[in-house]
């Protein structure tokens, strides 16, 4: 070697200092603050279940009053929840889920890769629909709807909420979340692509059992919703 290591390292440092690098953006603070105050963009929806769990911790710790100015994105049981934004709620006629078809319960069980449950408290569903290539199964009773979906690998639903924040709850020993107010809901199709704006959803209880996410919609009180949820078989 014809120069010392130190000299060569110094030469590299000097080269680094001489490099032409574009100037840093001057408005980064404003950009970051604006991004933090906006709802989280939809394209960051590929999350593994580990991330879902990580965000659950944030949810429990980060919902004190006075945080309304900060958009919080909660992920729970396959649901991405945007909190603290008060975007316009969807209105008009509800859209169906992608490629939604009616099926008998036994038939639906064969069509999906996850175990389907039925709440004993509600009895046999009046109607069963399978959507998006077996990704979601919706069961209907009078005014009540239970969605079951593969909740492990990604966020399936996207909800937009203003205050109040969703309320942590329990279904037996499973963590759950209760959304008492009406909220917009979107479905993020399995193959990617644009979220499907579905409808204005009523009070909803969300929980996760094994790899399956469940959302029970249309029951007015948390007590009643958890009673029904705890009765699934």
């Amino acid at each position: 070697m014809n120069s010392s290591d130190d000299d060569f390292e110094a030469e590299l440092r000097a080269l680094g200092e001489s490099l032409h690098v574009p100037p840093p953006p001057g408005d980064m603070s404003a950009r970051v603050l604006a991004a933090l105050e906006e709802p989280k963009p939809r394209f960051t929806t590929k999350r593994l279940v580990a991330v879902v769990a990580a965000f659950l911790v944030v949810l429990v710790a980060a919902t004190p009053q006075g945080r309304a100015a900060v958009a919080e994105v909660l992920r729970f049981a396959g649901v991405e929840i945007e909190v603290g934004t008060s975007g316009p709620l969807p209105s008009g006629s509800p859209s169906p889920l992608p490629s939604e078809t009616s099926a008998a319960l036994a038939e639906a069980r064969r069509m999906v890769a996850f175990p389907l449950v039925v709440p004993a408290a509600l009895g046999e569903p009046g109607q069963v629909r399978v959507a998006d290539g077996g990704q979601v199964v919706s069961m209907y009773w009078d005014g009540v709807r239970l969605d079951q979906y593969d909740g492990t690998l990604r966020d399936v639903w996207n909800k937009q909420l203003g205050e109040p924040f969703p309320q942590p709850a329990r279904v037996g020993d499973l963590a759950a979340m209760w959304i008492p107010q009406k909220h917009g809901i979107e479905y993020l199709p399995k193959g990617g692509g644009r979220p499907v704006s579905l409808r204005l959803a009523g009070p909803t209880l969300i929980w996760q059992s094994g790899g399956v996410g469940l959302r029970l919609e249309g029951v007015a009180t948390l007590d009643e919703a958890t009673r029904i949820a705890a009765s699934v078989r």
């Binding site: 070697m1 014809n2 290591d5 060569f8 390292e9 030469e11 590299l12 440092r13 080269l15 680094g16 001489s18 490099l19 032409h20 690098v21 574009p22 840093p24 953006p25 980064m28 603070s29 950009r31 970051v32 603050l33 991004a35 933090l36 990580a54 911790v57 944030v58 710790a61 980060a62 004190p64 006075g66 945080r67 100015a69 900060v70 994105v73």
Partner: protein, 185 residues
């Protein structure tokens, strides 16, 4: 940090954790330059600004996972490095390689044209050699010398043990010297 800006990183992190966005803004201002330089030199190219913005947003959202007894800067730069990887990966492998250090040029000529030409020639060869290094060695060399991070910081940013930083840097330096010295003969 300057005298007008007495908030320490740890203070700022603590306040940001309790919802004070202004305190987080202090951290953003403080580290935008190094974050941007890191993103650019690790290959983010013209996406460096977006990468840095996304890194600051993610850092804020994951602030609870930051260990308060460690330094904020390398933790942030690791997020920047990861976002840079995401950005370059989404461009595809070929673009990934060709865009490395794209746009990095020597400044145009000061003083003695003769000296400048010679020095410039050597710098250009050295830079070309850095560009041609295997990914891991190049990243280590960029962190250690172009960003002037310590070995420990480099290890955190690249997500590898300090021993790997040492060996990657060592191999990278040896390769660079061989390239540059060979061409001088």
């Amino acid at each position: 940090m300057n005298a007008d800006d007495p908030l320490t990183d740890d203070d700022a992190v603590g306040r940001a954790l309790s919802g004070d966005l202004g305190a987080y803004e202090t951290l953003v201002s403080r580290y935008t330059a190094i974050a941007h330089r890191t993103a650019f030199l690790l290959g983010a190219g013209n996406e460096a600004e977006d990468v840095v913005q996304e890194a600051f947003v993610k850092a804020y959202r994951h602030l609870r996972s930051f260990r308060r007894d460690s330094a904020f800067r390398p933790w942030l730069l690791r997020i920047v490095a990861n976002e840079t990887h995401n950005a370059t990966r989404s461009r595809g492998r070929r673009a990934d390689l060709s865009v490395r250090l794209e746009g990095v040029r020597e400044p145009s000529g000061p003083e003695d044209p003769q000296d400048t030409a010679v020095a410039g020639d050597r710098s250009a060869r050295l830079l070309a050699a850095v560009r041609a290094l295997p990914d891991r060695e190049r990243e280590a060399v960029v962190c250690r010398y172009f960003l002037q991070l310590s070995e420990a910081e480099t290890a955190e940013v690249l997500g590898c043990p300090v021993g790997s930083v040492k060996s990657r840097t060592h191999r990278g330096l040896r390769r660079l010297r061989e390239e540059v010295d060979r061409e001088l003969l």
